[in-house]
Amino acid sequence: MSEEQIKNLEEQFEARIARDEKIEPKDWMPEKYRKTHIRQMSQHAHSEIIGMLPEGNWITRAPSLRRKVALLAKVQDEAGHGLYLYSATETLGISRDEMYEQLHSGKAKYSSIFNYPTITWADMGAIGWLVDGAAIINQVPLCNTSYGPYARAMIRVCKEESFHQRQGYEIMIKLANGTPEQKEMAQDALNRWWWPSLMMLGPTDDVSVHTAQSMKWKLKRKSNDDLRQQFIDQTVPQAELIGLTIPDPDLKWNEEKGCYDFGEINWDEFWQVVKGHGPMNKERMKARVGAWERGEWVRDAAMVHAEKKQERKQKQAV
């Protein structure tokens, strides 16, 4: 194809997206579109899978049977969501194994928030409430993204995730209304998860590299700063309602702007964690790689068994 032809195709392609048409797997697409989507979608899938670990850490210790089944179901959903997203990404011509390889070798990124430890039960509440809350804000607009398989996967994910945040907030309500010890546990968890949750919505707009292109392709509908503001504005009243204090002395309602002003985010910490220096980066990766390696003989056995069965069937047919 000549350069001019490609340019022509690209223009048509961008026009289709601008008209809100969906792009489907076999459609022509610019290489950059494919690559960007593989990167973002696999990163999203990895985040779901790594995200199972901090919460999985409390399954055996959940304080009641009701909490235990809810947590199990939630962590299981995350596995499901990772699976939907890996499947959607596979339509772009990359296998799940290749994506795992990128994750395990450290080449692929995932949401840094999962590199923080879950040290008390209240962290299950804080993660559901704040981390899932921030994730929903990020994800809902993706139900309308331009790539069909991604949009469909996200519709499924968002529908299923609607209980996740409620699950977390309910844990927090119980703790906040409980004994002083429980309330302290809840406040401590909020103190530790608040700032990482704000960071989760991505670097500030002035340093965010992909935003313009992503907006055009509807991989993003709002800027990171707008999303963060939305998250803060909706979360602060939720904290007040249960008598918890947001750990930000600069947090103040701005009557004029109609939203909250908030304090400086420690971006040094954010970049350190992204670079692999968070408290749990190594452990998370070790757990993932370990599970994958321990599972290899199992996966191989299933494949060999399937082939044997197939052979026997063919022999019988002869």
């Binding site: 499947s87 596979e90 499924r156 996966r299 191989d300 494949m303 399937a306 197939q310």
Partner: protein
């Protein structure tokens, strides 16, 4: 020993009798039985189905979007296939 990876399967679920099976996603499994079991565990956790079909992805033949012009556009102007093409006086009932 690193053998082949589990192949990809497309999953179709009938949400209730009377409705058609609908494509709902894909997953990996070593054989058809496992694909069915996995589909049950992955795609019907919330009571979404009463019947499942699994098809190994490689067995699906898809039309090429590049041929969409010749495949689908010719049907666009065949308006006489639709009831609104025909002029009838308003007084006519039950038609």
């Amino acid at each position: 020993m690193a053998t082949k990876n589990w192949p990809l399967w497309e999953i179709f679920v009938r949400s209730k009798n009377g409705l058609e099976h609908r494509h709902c996603g894909s997953l990996h499994a070593s054989d058809a039985e496992m694909a069915l079991e996995n589909a049950r565990d992955v795609y019907t956790r919330r009571n979404e189905g009463v019947s499942i079909w699994v098809v190994e992805s490689k067995h699906i033949t898809a039309s090429n979007p590049e041929n969409n012009g010749e495949l689908f556009e010719p049907a666009q102007d065949k308006v006489y296939r639709h009831p609104t093409f025909y002029d009838l006086p308003d007084e006519v009932k039950h038609m």
